[in-house]
Symmetry: C2
């Protein structure tokens, strides 16, 4: 068959993988499950996209399990989808063509911490919170913090980032090397523990963000960072979104080494006040964090105070005491749940976009107006130091009209961001949900991406139907 | 013909590209030269490798020239090599199979500075010094500084870095997006001006460091940085290489935001004393630079003083005055010429390697001993904050025995670095000179690199014979 949109393949059209599954059963026994509930759970998606379960779920113990499974699947041209903890947001884990889900959760060993080099090597099932808990006595930490307690493997796959990215970068910046199982079941290493290299193609960065379509990550070597001697947190309020964005822009331009700078719009603050019983001023608000020595944090806070005063920023309260810092950031941490509570029976669809910071105010304002005009509820929260922001649309997913309205808003946001020389997603990835914007964003660069995909996965078994719709061979 | 090592192809074996050159002449007229001297100049290499000139040199004015030339070359299966200013160090610009050299020097426009976003878009022929001169009144700068005044296009091709990389990263970190002419002459864009994206494969990072083997870069969008309010520079001396490296390691571990930290070994200091008529203590020496506010620079220098005292560091003199800073760094800036003067009639062969910082002292010390045992002269200078260092071997290139000895030293250094979980090159690239170490460093990941090469350049016209020896079709 030729290319099929994900959603229109029904069960009768799916290839029959029973021979492949029988082979996998011989090799893996009880590690393999074809239980319907288990399969549905692994096709689970945190979007409005329909659940598309795999035919079987394999719990792997080590890289050799992964290699053997991929080799069998490749022989049978059976799709393979790696699963971390299931927190991806754009349908990355759905199995539109069926196939095998490889559940990595049991590969959760922290293999080696190198304190002297500030590196750690982990298996892909390790979660970010698990890693930081493990590191708690070393003075080091791993800064990348997407909202969910995601697995490191999943974070590699989607090129994840989060609130610390403005200072510490994204997964693209903190991964030194990967071990990857390729489409034919080979195990390859994509780098070393050296901080930099000019030896050949950057396979590490190619794998990061490829959403499991080029290989399955079985080991990750990460950079770590020292926990600062002093951390200062604060919040301040602005008359308008534009004022808040202007303050962010100047902060970045002045190269203030700010560790976090998050924007919550007035609606989000209102939601937080209701949810946490707070009394924050319901205007656009910045949450910030400074890392450094005590003197440096003090100085950063002073400079930041001067910056925000230029743009009508008010009531800047900040503190270095941990309990007080936590209290100040409480609203930001609970933003997702607070938003959801604005419409308790609705689903919260999270989308994101990223633009050059000079276009941020315009992009956020236009998006807010668009949401308001649609009649939907959609608070905005942003990692605005990077020009990246999220809209959380509260949608009754039983109502097709609402889903269509939400999709339209997301589509207009993607188009708006791309037209501002930005991207349709800063950190959530493409999966199934954002394929329709790839052509506009990348134009003929898509040809290169697809040539790479075909070269590294000639049988198209690695997470097919993600990033772009894929033809898949019917001959299992 | 099948794979041929670069050096054994003689003129009689080269394909005849006269038809292709005639087609290029029709399209480009006086822009195309087949003058022998011009061709030899463009095959120039700063290594011991023999000069392998192209068959013709084309001076391009814009991306459309590049696209048209590549399209013609692709039709004729004629090799294409892009040329910036010719400062690469591993034979990246040689034409082992002949072909067309595309000289990019006239594509030297700075297209757009976005002060608000700290970005700039340039053509590939712009040099790093030209860019910083252009930016001089903006308060912004471009930090990547390989020794030579390289072209930005060439710096993309080799994944260049330099003394500022410890704080500002390498080309991999500061390039936001590229425009690239692909092997069939298409013009594609690999990214946007957004600071981050999770939309599809990271073609930008794939192109960076690919040494012109996957595409020819015609436009580069770079991150810029604010020039710090205050810059402090200093030097200090250590009893041993190990002591100096230990001090570097602790500096990095403490996350001191040091902007530069360079090691010169005792022999290099001796060379500098002779060359610049200085009287520096002839022991391993660190040159450092701090960027920040005045208070922050003061604090960094204070912390650094405490660090070096732990490891016997002495006579730490530092200053924020520009003239005094320049005087302090004079020895570092002249290191290359000072080394060369140790043996005036010899050629200076520069090689580099990079290891995890915990292995740096061991790697540098073993390398110094190896050089000493060989009887060669080879001062060591390093961007040691990244675990990256250079050896400058002073070789009589008319003496085959000396070349062999130098190659052996470089080979042992590459092996040593790789065995320490490092890389055979931190910033010079592979070109022709380091192909022999690719297998040891990458193992079966080479298969992936070569599959990507074959997918994006099926006729193998883009800088063939670089990174690895290549088969090339004889049918022009």
């Amino acid at each position: 068959m030729s290319s099929l949109p994900n959603s229109i393949m029904n069960d009768s059209m799916k290839p029959d993988y029973s021979t492949a599954i029988a082979d996998l059963k011989i090799r893996f026994g009880q590690q393999l499950s074809t239980n319907t509930a288990v399969c549905e759970q692994h096709g689970h998606t945190m979007t409005w996209l329909a659940n598309q379960p795999p035919d079987a779920v394999l719990t792997v113990q080590d890289k050799h399990d992964v290699a053997a499974a991929v080799e069998i699947c490749n022989q049978h041209h059976m799709p393979v989808i790696a699963f971390g903890i299931g927190s991806s947001l754009e349908g990355q884990l759905n199995a539109p063509f069926g196939g095998l889900c490889i559940d990595m959760h049991a590969m959760d060993a922290i293999l080696q911490v190198n304190n002297e080099d500030l590196t750690v090597t982990v298996q892909p099932g390790v979660t970010r919170e698990q890693l930081n808990h493990y590191l708690r006595d070393t003075g080091l930490f791993f800064p990348i913090d997407p909202g969910a307690n995601a697995s490191i493997g999943g974070m590699v796959a989607t090129r994840a980032s989060g609130t610390n990215a403005v200072r510490y970068g994204t997964m693209k910046d903190v991964v030194l090397a990967l071990e990857v199982v390729t489409a034919n079941g080979d195990i390859v290493r994509t780098g070393t523990r050296a901080k930099k290299s000019a030896a050949g193609y950057d396979l590490t960065r190619l794998m990061i963000g490829s959403e499991g379509t080029l290989g399955i990550v079985t080991e990750i070597t990460l950079k770590l960072f020292g926990i600062s001697e002093c951390i200062g947190s604060g919040i301040c309020h602005f008359p308008t979104i534009e004022d808040a964005c202007q303050a962010v822009m100047l902060t970045i331009q002045m190269c203030l080494p700010i560790a976090r700078i998050e924007l919550l719009d007035a609606l989000q603050i209102k939601a937080c006040n209701q949810y946490d019983n707070l009394s924050l001023t319901e205007t656009p608000t910045l949450f910030v964090e400074f890392h450094g020595t005590e003197a440096s944090v003090q100085e950063q806070a002073q400079i930041f105070t001067e910056i925000i005063e230029e743009f009508g920023g008010k009531d800047f309260s900040w503190d270095t005491n941990e309990a007080e810092r936590k209290r100040l950031w409480q609203a930001r941490h609970n933003a997702y749940h607070a938003s959801s509570a604005l419409r308790p029976k609705a689903s919260a669809l999270s989308t994101d976009a990223c633009v050059p910071i000079s276009r941020l105010a315009e992009c956020v304002s236009e998006t807010a107006k668009d949401i308001e005009a649609s009649g939907m509820i959609g608070p905005i929260v942003g990692h605005v130091g990077d020009g990246n922001f999220h809209v959380l649309l509260l949608v009754d997913t039983d109502n097709p009209t609402e889903i269509a309205t939400a999709e339209d808003i997301i589509g207009r946001l993607a188009k708006r961001a791309i037209e501002m020389d930005g991207t349709c997603t800063g950190e959530h990835g493409i999966g199934q949900g954002k394929q329709k914007y790839m052509q506009q964003e990348h134009g003929n660069a898509l040809v290169l991406m697809q040539a790479i995909k075909a070269a590294l996965d000639p049988n198209n078994i690695l997470n097919p139907g993600k990033i772009w719709p894929h033809p898949i061979s019917a001959s299992a």
